[in-house]
Subunit: 238 residues, 2 copies
């Protein structure tokens, strides 16, 4: 028999998945808008932001209500706390997509410049990280989450490389300074999306394993927490 | 009589205040490092980051343990959730201070450039926001938190202004492109610190009033939540 609490956990999970879909869509639209210099997609990203903000609020309220409803078991408590953290990261992913759209809107008024940066490749890697992070949440799989952590290093290198090449271009060619700056800021925004995907992956690992993997600390159990049920988080009916 | 739970809430509050002190200090050091081109302060910011990361983890664990310990009243639950959110924002404030320190370390190798930007003034405003946001938490005062929200608009305008002036300088003077870029990125980092201070202020309001002020939504009570005790959060022994 499913309790009202279990139903609440399921609803919370569904809400977060919808939120994740919105954030992922916003990043995909923003990076495509950059590639195609497409103002329509920029507009869609800006309009989508309020949906994301509403979804964030609803998830926080649902999490609060569940915590207030009854004493959750440790694994459920970790799940609810992970959801609230993932929720904030997804909202910030949406903010970064808006920042990218704003850079594109600045850029389309300027002449097209051939720049030494592959934003399309970086954008594809970042979108894959967001998708993978959400999959790791859906499946409750630590291996998927760990793959996201590894991809973050690759994206960091791409951003550093973009930074070096674009600053060089800005120094050498005064006619493309502003376009190079737009590209540099887009690369930075994409890197931040990757950081949020990394945070999400870490929260999934915290939920599933009860460990805190942030800041490269060795995996350790919450020794102070009450005894926890064994098994994957899916076993608790989520 | 103070219960173990109330003692736990007090400890959590003290831990967050220490974390706030570390984050505030990091921003103060980073902005002073920019003004004085001071590598020693940059180094202090980089070294301080691991203290901040450790503090973040300890606070999350303490919050988790309190939630697991017993069924908190609604006002205490809101307090604990607000602490976990403020905790993440403070950690990100620390990250921004590191970003600023890294820009300063890039900048000191370049010739001094006279740039059309007042980073000192913007930095002072941002530090004041962080301080005020932490005060609003300590005092549990909505008015202080609301003042932070208002200051955010001022800082946003400073950043937009810095952006316009610095891009102009980059276009006109190829000899200061990199210095202007460093200044522009520092302005952006400061603006993000201001955003985190704003988030903290919003979380204080959520805690004190039980309302969600994010994204300019009209103040509304959590209608689904159980009945809550009246009075300020300080009444609950926090």
């Amino acid at each position: 028999m499913r309790t009202r609490f279990q139903q609440g956990l399921d609803d919370l999970r569904q809400k977060l998945l919808r939120m994740g879909g919105l954030a992922e869509q916003a990043v995909d639209r923003a990076r495509q808008a950059y590639i195609d210099r497409d103002l329509t997609r920029c507009q869609m990203v800006l309009e989508g932001e309020s949906l994301i903000n509403t979804a964030e609020r609803e998830i926080d309220e649902a999490a609060f209500d569940l915590l207030a409803m009854q004493q959750p078991m440790a694994v459920d408590l970790r799940f609810i706390l992970a959801v609230t953290k993932i929720n904030s990261d997804l909202e910030r992913v949406g903010d970064q997509a808006v920042n990218i759209a704003e850079r594109v809107m600045d850029m389309v008024d300027l002449p097209v410049a051939d720049l030494p940066v592959d934003i399309a490749r970086m954008g594809a890697a970042v979108s894959a990280m967001v998708r993978r992070a959400l999959e790791s949440f859906i499946e409750g799989k630590v291996e998927l989450a760990q793959a996201v952590l590894e991809m973050d290093n690759v994206v960091d290198r791409m951003k550093d490389d973009a930074f070096i090449q674009l600053v060089k271009a800005m120094n050498q060619r005064s006619d493309v300074v502003r376009q190079a700056l737009d590209a540099l800021l887009v690369a930075r925004n994409l890197e931040r999306v990757a950081d949020h995907a990394t945070n999400i992956a870490e929260d999934v690992i915290f939920w599933v394993q009860g460990s805190d993997v942030r800041h490269n600390v060795a995996v350790e159990e919450h020794s102070e927490a009450p005894a926890e049920p064994e098994g994957s988080p899916r076993a608790s009916g989520i």
